[in-house]
Symmetry: C2
Subunit: 266 residues, 2 copies
C-alpha cells in the first residue's frame, strides 16, 4: 500500500507541466495542508529531467485556497549555473493561480561547517505525551506529535505569554525522511496566534520559506525516527505575524530552518 | 541633489516593464549590493499602477551577478485578493535572468498585537564607534555603521565562536525610512562566515527573505534615525549557511525580520 504522503506526492508529467491532485488525508481547514503543497513543489522539481542537485531553499506563497481535485504545477528553471539552479513554479487550477514558488537547488560540497544553536534541552519523545489533533484538522492524522511545550490549546487553556511550540514529530505510518517529507515537517506547526490567545483564530500562512541544511547522509541517518521541531513568532501586528522554526534530528543535526508569515484575524 | 539611494531606485516604466540601472555608489564585490536590488524590486511593485497595499513579504533569489548598466524588471500580479496581492518578478539583462523574486503586498488593519523578543540591550548609537568599511566594498559608503558587536574582522582579529553582528546603522547622507530603504537595511550585514573565520571568504547571498512588520506610522516615527540591526547564522555546511536577523527602531519597534541563505567557499 502506498504511504499517504507518497499518494499526495504523486505527480504526472504532461506537456511540460506536472499534474497532481489533492488527497483527502491531507485536508486542512480550507484546502490542503500547506506543507504538503510545498512538498509537492519540491517533488515536482526533483522529478524534472533538468534538475541539478538537491533543495537548498524554497519559498512558497499561498495566494488562494486550493480546491479539492486536480492541480497543475508549471515549472521553469529561470537560470542554471555550474553548481546551482533557480526555479520558478506556479500551481494552478483551471486558469487560477493558487500558489507561487521559487526554489534554489544546488550541489553541496565539503566545507568548513558548524552549527551555532544547540537543540532545545528536551525529554526523549518516548517520555512526552502525544496529542492527537486530527479531529481539528484531518492532515494531522499523518503525524504523531509529542509536545514538549506549546501543545494546541484546549477550551480552558487560556492565553500564553510565549508563542513557542516544541514538538517531537514523526509521520504515521512511519516513513523514511527525504526532502519532500522534511519540507512538509517545516510547516507542521498550528498557528502561533492560537497559542498566544488560547483560542482558535482564523489564520493562514501567506509565505513560507525553508532553508535545507540536511545533505543526503543527514537525511539517511534519521531513518523514520522522530524529528524535533521548534517554532516561535516574533511580532504580531496589523493582521500578520511571522514565525521562525528549526527542525532537528534526534542526533542533534539541524536539518532545516524555516520561516513564515501568517495572516490572522482579530 | 538626489539622494544616492533614490538614484538607485529610479525606474522608468516602459512597455509594461520597469527599466532601471545600476549605480556605481552601490557597487559590491561583484555586481551591485543585493539589498539595493531587493529594494528596487519593492520600489518597482510600489510604482506599479495595479499595486494593492504595502509590502508584507519579499523573497529575492540572486541567480547571477548583475552587470554594470541597465536592467529590466518584469513584474506580474499572479493573484489579487481582497486584502493582499501576490507578485512575481524577474530582473534581466538582455535575455539573461539575473534575479527572481516573489512578493506579497497587503492591507494592514488594527488587530491584537505583540512583539515577543526584546531588542538587544545595547549602548546608544552615539556611544558606539563607527567602522568605515567602504574601502572593502563601495556600497558601504552609503551607510554609517556603529557596531555593538561583531564588527568586520581585520587582519589580526582571528576566529570568533559566534556569528552575531549587532550594529546601529543609518543611511548617509541621512534619509527618511521607507519600505525600499528598510528592504536594503535587511541585507546590510557582511557575510557571517567572515566573522566566524576571521577572514575574507568568497560568499554571496543566494536567497533573501524579508517580512515587513512596520506600518506607515512605524516608518514615519523612525524619521532618518539609526536602526538597530542584529543578525546571526545557524548552520554552516556543504557550502551554504543561513542567517536570521531583526531590524529594530530606536524606539523598540520591530520593523522587519529577515532571513537569507548564503553560498560560501572553503
Amino acid at each position: 500500500m502506498t504511504h499517504p504522503f507518497d499518494v499526495a506526492m504523486a505527480l504526472d508529467s504532461m506537456d511540460g507541466l506536472m499534474r497532481g491532485q489533492t488527497t483527502p488525508d491531507f485536508a486542512n481547514m480550507v484546502g490542503p495542508f500547506g506543507g504538503v503543497t510545498a512538498a509537492a513543489i519540491v517533488r515536482a522539481i526533483e522529478n524534472h529531467p533538468d534538475r541539478l542537485g538537491d533543495p537548498v531553499s524554497l519559498t512558497v506563497n499561498y495566494a488562494a485556497p486550493i480546491a479539492d481535485g486536480d492541480f497543475v504545477v508549471d515549472l521553469r528553471a529561470a537560470r542554471t549555473n555550474r553548481t546551482n539552479q533557480h526555479w520558478i513554479a506556479e500551481l494552478s487550477q483551471s486558469t487560477d493561480v493558487k500558489t507561487t514558488a521559487t526554489a534554489v537547488f544546488g550541489l553541496r560540497r565539503p566545507t568548513w561547517s558548524d552549527t551555532e544553536p544547540r537543540p532545545p534541552a528536551v525529554p526523549a519523545p518516548e517520555d512526552c505525551a502525544s496529542q492527537d489533533n486530527s479531529s481539528f484538522v484531518t492532515w494531522m492524522r499523518n503525524y504523531e506529535m509529542r509536545f514538549v511545550e506549546g501543545a494546541m490549546p484546549g477550551a480552558d487553556t487560556g492565553e500564553n505569554p510565549d508563542s513557542t511550540t516544541t514538538v517531537w514529530v514523526r509521520p504515521q505510518p512511519h516513513r523514511a525522511l527525504d526532502y519532500a517529507a522534511l519540507t512538509a515537517l517545516c510547516d507542521v506547526f498550528y498557528p502561533r496566534v492560537f497559542l498566544r490567545r488560547g483560542q482558535f483564530i482564523p489564520a493562514g500562512t501567506i509565505s513560507f520559506t525553508a532553508y535545507f541544511h540536511a545533505d543526503a547522509d543527514d537525511l539517511a541517518r534519521q531513518g523514520d525516527d522522530y524529528v524535533l521541531a521548534t517554532a516561535r513568532a516574533q511580532r504580531f501586528s496589523g493582521g500578520f505575524f511571522d514565525q521562525s522554526a528549526q527542525v532537528w534530528g534526534r542526533d542533534g543535526t539541524l536539518l532545516a530552518v524555516t520561516h513564515q508569515i501568517v495572516y490572522f484575524k482579530g
